[in-house]
Symmetry: C2
């Protein structure tokens, strides 16, 4: 099976953009991805496209994949929309890797988008909650902040995790996001700010929750047969893993881990032949602060129950042992649902290309991205590796 | 790259089932697919799942893939929902083939479902039209019957196609569907009935339009490395092709062909190394009678403009040169959007297994399925081949 390589990735700004459409944001991301390819790439080079979106914006619900690819000039190119809630474009990237490895495509665009600031349609209001389990969670009034608050409560009780640990996630991610020109909430916050914010769903306060966002992101995945046409400094997709689980949290055996993330991480590490100790950085799915802490444990950055200590130690800051969410994460960079997974890959591409500016992890050669759908009904993990840097 | 094989396929009945849920219908289809595997298959054998749905029913919009796979016992298995409007599960089958050929999975479930009879939610009413182009078609009042009526009008004017030709599609498909126990409209209709039905969107009348349906369908795709575990009579996925196009009909150069279908067919024939003359049967996307006629031309069953003559000649009836929609097609069997593509594969499996009962095509060894999203924004074609029968 041919290897898969990441040769370019780009994103729009994340934020609230009433003057933009899903198509204009997607074009911005697509052009940024194209421009990032070291030796350039044309629309004619693209064999296939996979587009992730939940469809919250409500403009083009069916066929929203072809609706954006036609807009960027990919006429006739096979295009599939995928949706796994907030992990939509993480799974799009995975499907792109499968398409390349299947030999059925040499160059695949994996992208995603979401418009969340426009709540004018019934569908939008209806949809914001629809990735939660319907019968027992959503229809009884449980929101995502409520579900993650349950996870946080149990983790706090079981392992002594504190509100300050949660707040430290916000402080770190805002510090990183303040260095990311695409970030929606690109400002620093103090621990005091993060500790004193209004409660959303106890124990989660406003600074423990990511914003809703408009935005788009794109990644270009190519086969080893053609990678030399696009770059002299290849970044290999070394590992890909995915898992699923019951959509409802209440159906799971555990509230203090996300089994789908564990499965996805394990599969990705196995495929890449590396472990968490071999990573130089990671982008993890911090829709809520507790989600980042759970990811530390689910992905093996620390032992079960030790995530609070890990954030407190500074190990996940830039300059630490395993910097996490150098982009600012969902918390500061933003969380345009369908774009989020591909947007994490944008940060991995920048870090591995040495182009992450003030938030660059020195000498980064291997990084991981981790994207979760809902409260853990689906998760996908990718490991990227800069080939010329490995062993250097 | 390992070859991909179809080892089982099954479906629920299609119809209006207020007592069923999307999950119960999906379970029926999944169990039927499992039971159809000659040597049996367990849930533990399944490595991955790809689920197509538009989500019209509105019960579980985000993560509806994992929501059905958890219900049938595929705990933890990576699951991706795909949506390309009415071609959702046709693309799910394609993605399953890519997953197998990529070496990342040995056994993949490709399925789909839709609940369309329950119009109690706002989302449902909103969604039935949302696969049409939004800004210039849907919001100006254009429905799918209107879009296809435009195609029919131009085809009639340009090539002399008649209302009777359209009606003959209905007569043929109802004759076939009357022999299919799963069909929603499993009764015969006379040419007089079909000619005199009330107008929906001139020139299309009620018998020129498929129904809306509840239903689910599943197919099991496996790698050549494991196919012997499941069957001694392998059916190979010989060809897979897909194409996309502008979502809006008004943006295309032609109203008398579906370019995405032509692209998909060409790619599938090339991969399979066969042509339309080598097919024993085909299931094509007859959401409206004109769509079946366009498919005849787009897939090369006859020359451009000759589809009316082809249906009139009887060549596409069972017993003819190229029987089309032996299942009854969308017109008589039904069209539960997300299930339709996988449901076509169910018919291909039955025909190639010699288990199509009264509608069996004698000696069938190679068949094609053709699934279209919207008015042609996406299309996907598969060619299946019974290995022991080829050249026999």
């Amino acid at each position: 099976m041919p290897g898969a390589y990441l040769v370019g990735a780009g994103q729009s700004d994340y934020g609230a953009f009433p003057g933009e459409s899903y198509r204009s944001l997607f074009r911005t991301a697509f052009e940024a991805a194209r421009e990032s390819v070291p030796k350039g790439i044309g629309t004619d080079d693209v064999d296939e496209a996979v587009i992730g979106t939940l469809g919250v914006g409500g403009r083009q619900l069916g066929l929203s994949g072809p609706a954006v690819t036609e807009h960027v000039g990919l006429d006739g190119v096979p295009c599939t929309r995928v949706e796994n809630a907030c992990a939509a474009s993480g799974f799009a990237v995975r499907q792109a890797v499968q398409a390349v490895k299947s030999g059925m495509a040499d160059v695949v665009l994996a992208g995603g988008f979401e418009i969340m600031s426009d709540t004018s349609s019934d569908a939008t209001k209806y949809w914001l909650g629809v990735s939660g389990e319907t019968e027992w969670e959503r229809l009884s009034g449980t929101t995502f902040s409520g579900v993650y608050a349950q996870m946080a409560s149990v983790h706090m009780e079981q392992y002594g995790t504190t509100r300050e640990h949660l707040s430290r996630v916000a402080v770190k991610n805002h510090e990183n996001g303040a260095k990311n020109p695409h970030a929606q909430l690109g400002f620093e916050c103090s621990l005091e700010d993060a500790q004193s914010a209004p409660v959303v769903a106890d124990p989660l306060n406003l600074y423990h929750c990511c914003p809703t966002s408009d935005g788009a992101a794109c990644a270009l995945i190519v086969s080893e047969d053609v990678v030399d046409e696009f770059t002299d400094d290849p970044i290999r997709v070394a590992g890909v893993g995915a898992g699923s689980d019951s959509v409802g949290l209440f159906q799971r055996d555990t509230y203090t881990s996300v089994p789908a993330s564990e499965r996805a991480g394990k599969a990705a590490y196995e495929m890449a032949g590396v472990g968490p100790e071999d990573l130089d950085f990671a982008e993890v799915h911090d829709c809520f602060a507790i989600a980042e802490l759970l990811a530390y444990e689910d992905l093996g950055f620390c032992e079960r129950g030790r995530a609070g200590h890990l954030i407190e130690s500074g190990a996940t800051e830039i300059g630490g042992e395993i910097p996490v969410n150098t982009s600012g994460g969902l918390k500061s960079k933003g969380h345009p649902i369908g774009a989020t997974g591909a947007g994490q890959v944008v940060e991995a591409f920048k870090q591995l290309s040495g182009e992450a500016g003030d938030r660059q992890v020195e000498g980064a050669v291997r990084g991981l991205t981790h994207n979760v759908g809902g409260s853990g009904g689906a998760a996908v993990v990718h490991i990227f590796e800069r080939e010329t840097g490995v062993g250097a």
